[in-house]
Subunit: 370 residues, 2 copies
């Protein structure tokens, strides 16, 4: 391998693919980035076995070849280079020479033979939507996925696409998040459970507000192509493997509250400070006419705040995990939210007062300890 490329382009490409390398692996080759010089391109790729990212940049290839460089070292080094043109030369002992201005770095590399091949997706189903919309539904649901391994399918978001709308659903047994966005085009209906770790990286790469993105699905794989970056992730199943979340949502509520989101969030943030110090991380809502009293208690003290609300229905006293409640509110953009309740043992539904159809959160109550 002998190839010339532009320093800044290489640095950008490395900063993208590095996200798919694995830092906690027993297989050291997964900590590396594969460089492949072929035709007019230098192709960089990395994978942790589940997520794979591949990025190609223009290059002047004098001699084709491929090698796996240590990911972290290569990325840190390339980021510090200010040289415009960089030459990469591989010798026959797997040593890569990086030449820049008058200087050079030699790094010991691994043969590309051991590197897993990135799944190629060709005859796939697809759908298209705005990058911004895909990013929003990921960000609005991903925080609700389960973090433990007892039910692995809950570590991902269910993407359900019915020809008109893409719905993302995440739940962990204590809370549920559903977000929807219109799609633009599609080949057929589809559903797939995408691991949260892959979605988190995909969300970071969706930076163009207006452009569309095409999502391809083939059996248990999802692929996205974005400005020459190919992201492929293995998935966890389809909607048949997921929990039937639709039956959870009732059509009638005994109490519906409208409250200013920032006021409720500020009160919860103050209460959580106390609740985290030797407390049980809970918050109590006492809803009485047009006043909601928010209170928390711990060994350090007690806090009580009164918030003016508009109540439709019955008075109620109910308690929640304060962090779960704040997570939802932080992901809602509208100024007012509605809390929909059915007594003190059934979950609370949190919906924005604007674009109500676009998302809904559910948080299960906890037993009141005081």
């Amino acid at each position: 391998m002998r190839v010339f490329c532009e320093g800044l382009e290489l640095s950008n490409a490395v900063s993208i693919v590095i996200k798919a390398t694995s830092s906690k692996t027993t297989n050291p080759i997964l900590e590396g980035i594969k460089l492949k010089a072929e035709g007019d391109y230098l192709i960089l790729s990395a994978t942790d076995g589940e997520l794979a990212i591949e990025k190609r940049i223009m290059a002047d290839v004098k001699l084709e070849g491929e090698i796996v460089v240590p990911g972290k070292l290569f990325s840190e080094f390339v980021r510090k280079l200010s040289a415009e043109q960089i030459q990469l030369v591989l010798d026959d002992r797997n040593q890569l020479k990086i030449k820049y201005t008058d200087s050079e770095l030699f790094i010991q590399c691994q043969s590309a033979n051991e590197f897993p091949t990135v799944k190629q997706i060709e005859n796939a189903q697809f759908f298209e939507l705005k990058q911004k919309d895909l990013k929003e539904i990921i960000d609005r649901t991903i925080f609700s996925v389960a973090t433990d391994d007892t039910r692995p399918i809950l570590k991902g978001c269910l993407f359900e696409q019915d020809g008109k709308t893409l719905t993302s659903v995440a739940l962990d047994g204590f809370r549920l998040a559903i977000a929807k966005k219109s799609i633009k085009e599609c080949s057929a209906e589809s559903s797939i459970i995408v691991p949260a770790r892959s979605l988190a990286e995909i969300s970071k790469l969706l930076d163009d507000e207006e452009k569309d993105v095409r999502v391809l699905i083939e059996r248990n794989y999802m692929m996205i192509v974005l400005n020459g970056t190919k992201i492929v992730t293995r998935c966890l199943g389809t909607k048949e493997d997921f929990i039937n979340y639709k039956q959870i949502i009732p059509s009638n509520f005994a109490s519906t509250i409208t409250v200013a989101k920032s006021q409720l969030l500020s009160a919860l943030e103050r209460a959580s400070i106390l609740s985290h110090v030797g407390g049980d991380n809970s918050v109590k809502f006492e809803i009485n006419n047009n006043i909601m009293q928010v209170s928390a208690k711990s060994e350090a003290g007690t806090v009580t705040e009164k918030i003016t609300i508009s109540l439709n229905g019955e008075d109620l006293t109910i308690a929640f995990n304060i962090s779960f409640f704040m997570d939802c509110l932080r992901n809602i953009a509208s100024d007012y939210v509605m809390l929909k309740l059915n007594g003190q043992v059934n979950p609370c539904f949190i919906v924005p007062s604007e674009n109500e159809e676009e998302y809904v959160y559910l948080v299960s109550p906890i037993r009141q300890v005081y």
Copy 2:
């Protein structure tokens, strides 16, 4: 105690005094902030036994009194308050009520009787200089203090004031930093060794470019008063207890090099990436005529960079701890630096090419391992 004060002022005051609380202490009262309502003021103070910070704010005191609040909880809570007026009321069971708008927080507090008194300094020696200048000489030397406990006096900077100039000196056995600034006024010559932890907090509080600051010294204590904030620190001794650093600096050098600072620093940053991966954290300089070759080696690879310099004197090959060398360069503002050397076993002196008299760094060489 019953007192009204302004929320934002209280929040600012708490964010300043909290820096003197101790988080790793066996004495829980040192994690607290003492509030004292007296006259027209609420006085906040905190100490870790070495450093003490006291700040007074205007308050409407209805009933005088004092109490120690849990520092972290109180600070986090007060920071989240948007209310303009806050009422603090202490009951007879050491519970403090914080009332804001329609809401209230009760926190369990400790009696102020156990709280250490902050040393009062009255008939002291003093000197005055620009806040900016004091900040600069702290920042330019503090990184060179010793971090282990084998020689406790080396955990501080020696402040030496001769009526015209304030000199700050820090050394840890491997490197030495000296910075000087003119003073404006003084009562007499003085010298004191100030703990680095106290200086770090003082540096953060010196935010006014143009205003002067008065430094007071009384026996083993140093005090600074800044916009109503009083900072008192216990010190580690005087120049008699310190190392006689003046004899370390030779008057002649065999090799003097002038080099562009940013170019050398960039080369070292790249070399350090390699050097940190299974390397010994060393860098080698091979000075030959007007070229300095900077190289580092580790199990991951080797890097070699060539930098154009101007050399006055002998050629030389010498090795250093790369982090120590970078620490110095990062603290130098001028575009060019001079490296002054006497062979490969004597220290390197690093001085800026502008304002040469204001600071000098010394770094000891290490044995070359390759």
